[in-house]
Symmetry: C2
């Protein structure tokens, strides 16, 4: 198949596929007119890359998996380097989760503190005025 069909079948763009090729992740045979020709293995390779991207991997991170597929393995994660990359990414994600949890707590504290500091003037706390304001802001 040609690049347009591969793009459609993988839900990406021709630009992305050419970019993968430029990064050395994807190689294409050329037909007589110079058009890129892909087979089903290439399709699997692209979907592998996409799957890995959804779990937080950069294009560069997908290299071991691509190499693994290229060397004839059935799946991209049958090789030691791929496993190692899984481990690295898992550790990264865990570290990020920890940090983000702390950020969330910090943010939550700030919000509740700010709400606590908020003095509510009586003329605003007045239900009549509140509904009026609400009406105006609609």
């Amino acid at each position: 198949m040609r690049i347009g069909e591969l793009a459609r079948r993988t839900g990406t763009t021709t630009r992305a596929l050419r970019f993968y090729e430029a990064q050395g992740l994807l190689t294409a045979h050329r037909s007589a007119n110079g058009y890129r020709e892909y087979d089903e293995d290439d399709l699997r390779l692209v979907t592998e890359i996409q799957t890995l991207q959804t779990v937080g991997m950069s294009l560069d991170d997908t290299r071991p998996f691509v190499e693994c597929l290229r060397s004839g393995h059935e799946t991209g994660d049958s090789c030691g380097d791929s496993i190692e990359m899984y481990r690295r990414k898992l550790a990264e994600v865990d570290a990020f989760l920890t940090r983000l949890g702390a950020v969330r707590a910090d943010l939550h504290d700030k919000l509740t503190e700010a709400l606590g500091r908020q003095e509510i003037p009586s003329y605003i706390a007045d239900p009549c005025v509140v509904s009026a304001v609400h009406h105006i802001r609609r």
Copy 2:
């Protein structure tokens, strides 16, 4: 104080401070020779920006807080817009945490699956060889 001192006292760079000014977050008086002059309020404003950045806010997100400080409030989060921004960011962080949790689970599954698929050839499983390999890789 001048820009260099403000940078030192806030632990940032002069470049960052000029950038904040270009973004309209920070305004400086100029002394006769054209040098920027800052006061303690500016220092508080910069630290406010930095604190907000650590909880995941972009420079643009800090605008309401900066405006709040500028309008004379004691803290940057005494205003409604700031509170609203806290809420938005908290929601964003929560959404991200959820997504990242799913990513982590996905990654963990992939790792265990790959490990399960890994057949361990006997010559590698052999403890002697294992220790030898370990020795070599050191």
